[in-house]
């Protein structure tokens, strides 16, 4: 990786101008980001430990370090450079890093950015897509309540009552089961919970038109898009 060497060399030059600590911090943040992009579990673990030792705030290491890496991974996926396995792997790597940093988060910082109840609808057993979304949501700082597969509308309603989430996510692979999504939305309406949550749906046959038709708030084409939609929702909510 000659490019990386140059990169580090530049940082070394920076040493002279800025304080030694700042340079070190930047270097660790870059490594956190790059380790995520390169799906390097050992690299992330090492960089996280060094971040703590160097006195970098755990919160910053996550949001300005690893999360930046996840953004790049997402871009690479959208461009076709990365595929499902890399996406899944990046989420795993990030979670390993978060595990190390979590104990050092200050009060308030450990708070999740939002809560999502998610499941594959009744009649459908397919869950790989849903699991990738969960993985990325968790990496992005969401608390996720996974209801699993073949989930009837009542269980969605119950989970919303119990957990009071910001978002409900539904997945379906089959065109024959996608109508179940409407049943879930209707059940939420009936229980008076519809306006308390945003609803996002996804899966091979799902289109934005279908989302509109059944009264969901958004349809996502892939896992990366799903996460960025969820993020924009909670950010807007916090902004208010």
């Amino acid at each position: 990786m000659p490019r990386k060497t140059i990169f580090i060399a530049k940082k070394v030059l920076l040493f002279k101008e800025v304080t030694c600590l700042m340079g070190k911090e930047d270097e660790i943040m870059d490594r956190l980001r790059d380790a995520i992009v390169n799906l390097d579990i050992d690299g992330v673990k090492k960089a996280c430990k060094e971040a703590i030792e160097a006195g970098i705030s755990a919160y910053k290491a996550i949001t300005d370090g690893m999360a930046k890496g996840m953004e790049i991974v997402g871009e690479k996926y959208e461009k076709g450079e990365y595929f499902l396995a890399e996406l899944m792997m990046a989420g795993e790597v990030m979670k390993e890093g978060v595990k190390i940093l979590e104990p050092y988060l200050k009060r308030g910082e450990a708070k999740k950015i939002g809560k999502v109840v998610i499941g594959t609808v009744r009649g459908d057993l397919h869950d790989i897509g849903k699991n990738i979304v969960i993985n990325l949501l968790e990496a992005a700082g969401f608390e996720v309540i996974d209801l699993g597969v073949d989930v009837p509308p009542e269980r969605f309603v119950e989970a919303v009552k119990q957990n009071n989430p910001d978002i409900v996510g539904m997945s379906a692979l089959l065109t024959t089961t996608m109508m179940e999504m409407k049943k879930v939305i209707d059940a939420l309406k009936e229980a008076g919970l519809r306006d308390k949550v945003k609803i996002i749906i996804g899966g091979a046959p799902i289109t934005p038109e279908f989302a509109e038709e059944i009264g969901a708030d958004a349809a996502s084409g892939d896992a990366v898009e799903a996460v960025s939609i969820c993020k924009s929702w909670v950010e807007r909510r916090r902004g208010i």
Partner: protein
């Protein structure tokens, strides 16, 4: 002298001639995408006898074939030359045959001893008289009983004809009896001819065969695109359509399709429709439900239960197929919601349920069925592999029609592309076999890495960016009969990765289920109604199925057709089918906790865990170096 199999063609040969040249003289076309330079490895043949009379394997052969394959007699036809006089027997495997008209109706020939469900009996009756004025029907039945010992009933529509035909024929008639219990035809002439119709109903294509029920020979065959295709490409979209109250529309489509095929064969062979006394039909579970007019709705919802699993015999006139109206249509039993009578037919044809050794059968389609086991027992699963191998969801993909590129070879280093098209037409797109080739060849040439990503450092004008997306040019616009270059995109590669990962994950979970290792599999049957042959070597390189020596792998084409013919011809085969349907254990992949990780690892080319593909890895290391 060289003998070419399976053609049985003998031809004189001279020293220094290559097998490829000799085949050319004999009018046998063998694939040679690189023009016989030993580069593409497409002209693989198997030397069954007389290897000593040939030149030693060249470096090119050592590159294209593994040591194990060479030991088993595999050679490249363009490289192996005659050194000594003496007989050489050369087998040209299906994937190397370049006979342009590759009928999807062709499958593996399965030997079945005819034991049809129908019998034709010539009956002489005593004329009625004042002394014996027994009624016509009773007279006929009594004559049948005394002549054959059979106690039969009469189909109601036939009963109406009896008085007239008995008199017209002067009390000598031929009757056809179904399963020794029901008379389904009465005729004045004494022709012994009996024909049957076998139909393989694919989601995309249907194949029909008229078989002589006495000799077992196929007298005519044809195929058509399933007319239901306009209502959706895959079974799930058909189910969706049927739910909208259109089940009968779909049913009529398939019946019309069958009648059209039969009409075509009957016209060519001059066989009258009424002489077709029996019919067997198989398809996936959804197709069979639609054929019978039974709602397939619940098959597509967990827990995916079908309405009907056992076989069923229905009168042709009730179904609407235009064979003899009183005849029965036999619909094969199914295994599960997504493993249908066509898989039963695959098993009947390959006879893996009778084999001592462990076999695996993969029937590749939009839904790919996999069966694993031996005579002690079989297990099966179905994977949602998607239509990529049928050319769908691929930017320049197309069905295997004239002008479809069917084989591709990429020269490492220069990245020049060689290809062959169906009917030697100008290229119009890529069909399934070419799509498998392209991905394997790009991997071999170092154009993509094992994660499936294009390696942009390669310098060739064929590799380019089209906006944000990367693509590789297979055929330039000026050589193609298309307004655009024929390309393979990064997304196309992703589609292939998804498809093959679903299949490999299925094989892997079945193997784990039976606690067997890939090497325990002695026979691998690759089936599929592609209309063209995928290259088993390249399918293995991309990791579609476990890394087995080529010797054990056979591409059997539309083998379901052979199995349906077996069921048509023999009630013993039907009995076996019934047993299979009861005994085969179905594994639901979506419910298997290991599926996700198996699937994701299998999206790599050939696999994330290279130890699972030792031979492919060794081969890739050789070509990439």
């Amino acid at each position: 002298m060289i003998i070419f199999q399976p053609y049985g063609i003998k031809i004189k040969s001279y020293k220094k001639e290559s097998i490829l040249e000799i085949a050319g003289k004999a009018g046998i076309r063998i694939n040679a995408v690189c023009g016989g330079r030993g580069l593409c490895g497409k002209c693989r043949v198997i030397i069954r006898e007389g290897e000593v009379n040939l030149s030693k394997p060249t470096e090119a052969e050592k590159r294209a074939l593994s040591e194990e394959d060479l030991k088993c007699g595999f050679r490249l036809a363009c490289q192996a030359r005659i050194e000594e006089t003496g007989t050489v027997i050369v087998e040209v495997p299906p994937e190397s045959q370049a006979n342009k008209q590759k009928l999807l109706v062709k499958g593996m020939e399965t030997h079945v001893k005819p034991k049809p469900a129908v019998k034709k009996i010539f009956v002489r009756l005593e004329k009625p008289s004042l002394q014996d004025n027994t009624a016509d029907v009773d007279r006929l039945l009594e004559a049948i009983r005394s002549q054959t010992g059979l106690k039969v009933n009469v189909d109601y529509e036939i009963m109406k004809k009896i008085p007239h035909i008995l008199r017209m024929s002067n009390w000598r008639v031929s009757v056809v009896v179904w399963k020794d219990k029901e008379m389904i035809s009465i005729e004045q002439d004494s022709s012994p001819d009996m024909y049957g119709l076998a139909v393989d109903m694919g989601t995309t294509k249907m194949a029909g065969y008229i078989v002589d029920l006495r000799s077992g020979k196929v007298v005519g065959a044809t195929s058509i695109v399933n007319p239901q295709i306009v209502y959706g490409e895959d079974v799930v979209s058909r189910i969706k359509f049927s739910e909208e109250g259109k089940l009968e529309v779909l049913r009529k489509c398939v019946i019309n399709g069958i009648n059209e095929m039969m009409g075509r064969i009957c016209k060519d062979t001059k066989i009258p429709h009424e002489r077709i006394y029996d019919m067997a039909v198989a398809g996936n579970t959804v197709m069979q439900h639609i054929f019978l007019g039974i709602t397939p709705k619940y098959i597509a919802q967990a827990p995916y239960s079908a309405a009907l699993q056992s076989s069923i015999d229905v009168k042709a006139r009730e179904i609407g197929v235009e064979i003899n109206p009183s005849a029965y249509v036999h619909v094969l039993p199914t295994i599960a919601g997504f493993v249908g009578g066509d898989t039963i037919a695959d098993i009947l044809a390959t006879k893996i349920h009778e084999a001592e050794d462990v076999s695996m059968l993969i029937d590749i389609g939009t839904n790919t069925e996999i069966v694993l086991g031996d005579k002690k027992g079989l297990i099966a699963c179905s994977c949602a592999s998607g239509p990529a191998f049928e050319g769908s969801h691929i930017k320049c993909g197309m069905r295997a029609l004239a002008g479809a590129i069917e084989h591709v070879w990429i020269e490492p280093g220069t990245f020049e592309v060689g290809y062959e098209t169906i009917d030697d037409d100008k290229p119009r797109g890529l069909c399934g076999s070419a799509i498998v080739d392209v991905v394997a060849e790009m991997l071999k040439a170092g154009l993509i890495d094992s994660s499936g990503r294009f390696i942009m450092e390669n310098e060739t004008p064929r590799l380019r960016r089209n906006g944000e997306k990367v693509e590789f040019v297979i055929a330039w616009r000026d050589e193609a009969s298309s307004a655009h270059d024929i390309v393979i995109t990064q997304n196309d590669i992703r589609e292939v990765q998804l498809a093959k990962a679903a299949i490999y994950a299925g094989t892997s979970i079945l193997m784990r289920f039976l606690k067997i290792q890939p090497n325990d599999i002695q026979r691998m049957y690759l089936a599929g109604a592609f209309g063209n042959y995928i290259d088993p070597q390249n399918a293995k390189i991309i990791g579609m199925y476990p890394d087995l020596p080529l010797e054990r792998v056979r591409f059997v084409g539309n083998v379901a057709g052979s199995g349906v013919r077996a069921a048509l011809l023999s009630i013993d085969a039907r009995e076996k089918a019934a047993n299979l349907a009861r005994k085969i254990e179905y594994v639901e992949l979506a419910a298997d906790p290991a599926f996700q990780s198996e699937f994701l690892k299998a999206t790599y080319l050939p696999h994330k865990e290279l130890w699972r593909f030792p031979n492919v890895t060794a081969m890739l290391n050789r070509t990439l170096r």
